[in-house]
Symmetry: C2
């Protein structure tokens, strides 16, 4: 079951993160969180904002995506050497990456089981375990 994050929740999260709820940040948050789980690049979100008559610069989109990521309301996914993807689903899960189209699709965490991992060196710890299933045309 998908949980829809209410708009006010984002407002609270911005406040908690010490981010002022500016016109741009609220508009981007709305685009990001009102459509269920999404995977976006900066360029995609920028184009979408312009299409929705939201005036934002690309630089602000980049800044906002990183601020949201630091605030824990977005998660960055590394699947492609040349672009950064951001995922509105911050819970523990994995991804299909369709190499032809550049699309990402969530894989529920419980569909993949990670066995015993070698322990990290002392002083270091595991930040995340990211599984990417790469899909191509046959």
């Amino acid at each position: 079951m998908k949980k829809v994050r209410p708009y006010s929740h984002v407002l609270d999260q911005l406040r908690t993160a010490g981010l002022r709820p500016t016109r741009q940040r609220l508009a981007l948050a709305k685009l990001l969180f009102e459509g269920g789980d999404r995977h976006v690049t900066a360029e995609m979100l920028h184009a979408e904002a312009l299409g929705a008559a939201v005036r934002v610069s690309l630089a602000t989109v980049y800044n906002t995506l990183h601020q949201f990521t630091n605030a824990g309301i977005l998660r960055e996914i590394v699947v492609d050497a040349s672009r950064s993807y951001f995922d509105t689903n911050t819970s523990n899960h994995h991804h299909f990456f369709f190499e032809d189209s550049g699309e990402l699709q969530d894989i529920e965490s419980d569909l993949i089981t990670i066995g015993e991992l070698p322990p990290p060196p002392p002083g270091k710890s595991v930040k995340s375990v990211d599984v990417v299933v790469r899909i191509t045309a046959d």
Copy 2:
């Protein structure tokens, strides 16, 4: 047990891939495959070549890395949005990524077990399953 790839083997693989064994390609192959399993970026390999008095341009290093990857004697690893890593170990295995230092370390394939995967859509197939364990300082 690590298998050391004999130098002549690389020569054969180049021939098989239809790549002429030029001075640059042989020198880069030597650097790559004579030191056991390695993870390199183009800049790293270029610097190493220059240090070993091998004259190669960065552009040729990039070209060569991709040619080797297409020939199946290297594998590209995506862990960092801003650089491409190449792994001399092309067998099925996974990686630790130390975010602080940018270093990669192999994780033997049998230390991680992937359970049942959702099937890919018709006409598409799984190209690879890449697991990256991200490590940071505590």
